[in-house]
Symmetry: C2
Subunit: 227 residues, 2 copies
């Protein structure tokens, strides 16, 4: 890659907080690399601090440009004081075990993104509805329009948070074991790939047989993607 | 369950930090419930605080009794000051999307455990080797014995942390959509189950054809378990 090419790639700033300290070859601050991991899985882990102590809450997230949104229901402990506080949101996908000839060189293939920002709580009801629609349709194309509309009370009871990504690091390992110096040792080495996907849909109890699975969901299941 | 039965179940203490604030029906402090989630996936997210700011690092963990261990390589930023600092380690497994007739009642089926403790760094080389053996053999039964032994330098370069679980919460959702009041609305509802598993092993480039996949790994791949 020439210097000219490099200069055209949008990158998050490299700071003390987000600098990749190990395995520099695996890390990137490029927007595209960070976004690719955020978009590859709906599950994230949101880290925040209360009274100096760390908390890590799993929830679902989605992305719009350089903003990441997340569903606040699982983070209500945090919600009361979320506005304006620093957050680290991390997504990780394990793609496989990497087995080497020594314990030391065992590893995993993975994709992860660690993004830093300042939490914002959406108070405006219209903006909240817009964000939730993006969330639902991002997972299940066209679904929002087919649903019973959200009531004012439901909108009030649902929390949506977001942050502008201020700093971020993506890390990827996607390679066989890196222990060529041990290749003469007669022990099995290689990758045990990990695969995730959606299985056959299970209709809700009592769902009328006349209501077929929407084509978009059928396509999602067949695609092998998680969203 | 009678009161007598309940009294015999080992539980983590219910404190302000670990109290389940929402969906009480889904939460548990029972040791067995917390351990089951920790044991079901090798991937965890470790949360810690540096200079008041939160960090969430993905890594692999394992459990011995009421202690949880984790691999320190991905947390070197934290390592220098890890000893004695508070940690929140969270494991989450997404088991499926739950699609309801309203956006509000959409959910996911999942298993998660949030455990709190105080980080300890293993300095003793023999104890570190013992812990790493437990880690490797826990993932791949019998593998440690087959490997090229770790060198003193490799042991020094590998970090293992652990903590006694002081407080913990497990949460599980495993149910169809809970929107019976909307059952008359003609939209598809149900579960899209998410499945994870190991795919066919990929031998390292150049691995002699005479070195077969060990039976324990073949069994792991066929079992549908991740470890």
């Amino acid at each position: 890659m020439s210097d000219t090419d490099f200069a055209t790639i949008a990158e998050f700033p490299t700071t003390e907080r987000s600098r990749v300290r190990r395995r520099h070859d695996r890390g990137s601050h490029a927007h595209a690399d960070v976004h690719a991991v955020l978009d590859a899985t709906p599950l994230c882990h949101v880290g925040y601090t209360i009274d100096g102590a760390p908390y890590v809450t799993p929830t679902l997230h989605w992305r719009e440009g350089n903003r990441v949104y997340w569903h606040g229901s699982a983070a209500s402990r945090f919600l009361r004081q979320a506005e304006g506080t620093p957050v680290c949101l991390t997504c990780s996908i394990m793609d496989g075990y990497v087995l080497a000839r020594s314990a030391f060189n065992h590893s995993i293939n993975y994709r992860s993104a660690m993004v830093f920002g300042t939490a914002r709580v959406i108070e405006d009801v219209d903006e909240k509805a817009r964000a939730l629609r993006h969330f639902v349709d991002g997972l299940f194309p066209g679904r929002w329009e087919s649903l019973r509309p959200m009531t004012a009370q439901e909108l009030k009871a649902t929390s949506v948070l977001w942050m502008e990504i201020e700093e971020a690091t993506a890390k990827v390992r996607d390679a066989p074991p890196g222990d060529l110096e041990d290749a003469h040792i007669p022990v099995w080495a290689g990758i045990l790939p990990l695969q995730s996907g959606l299985a056959a849909a299970e209709p809700a109890p009592g769902l009328p047989g006349s209501i077929a699975l929407p084509a978009a969901l059928d396509e999602l299941i067949r695609s092998g993607r998680l969203r």
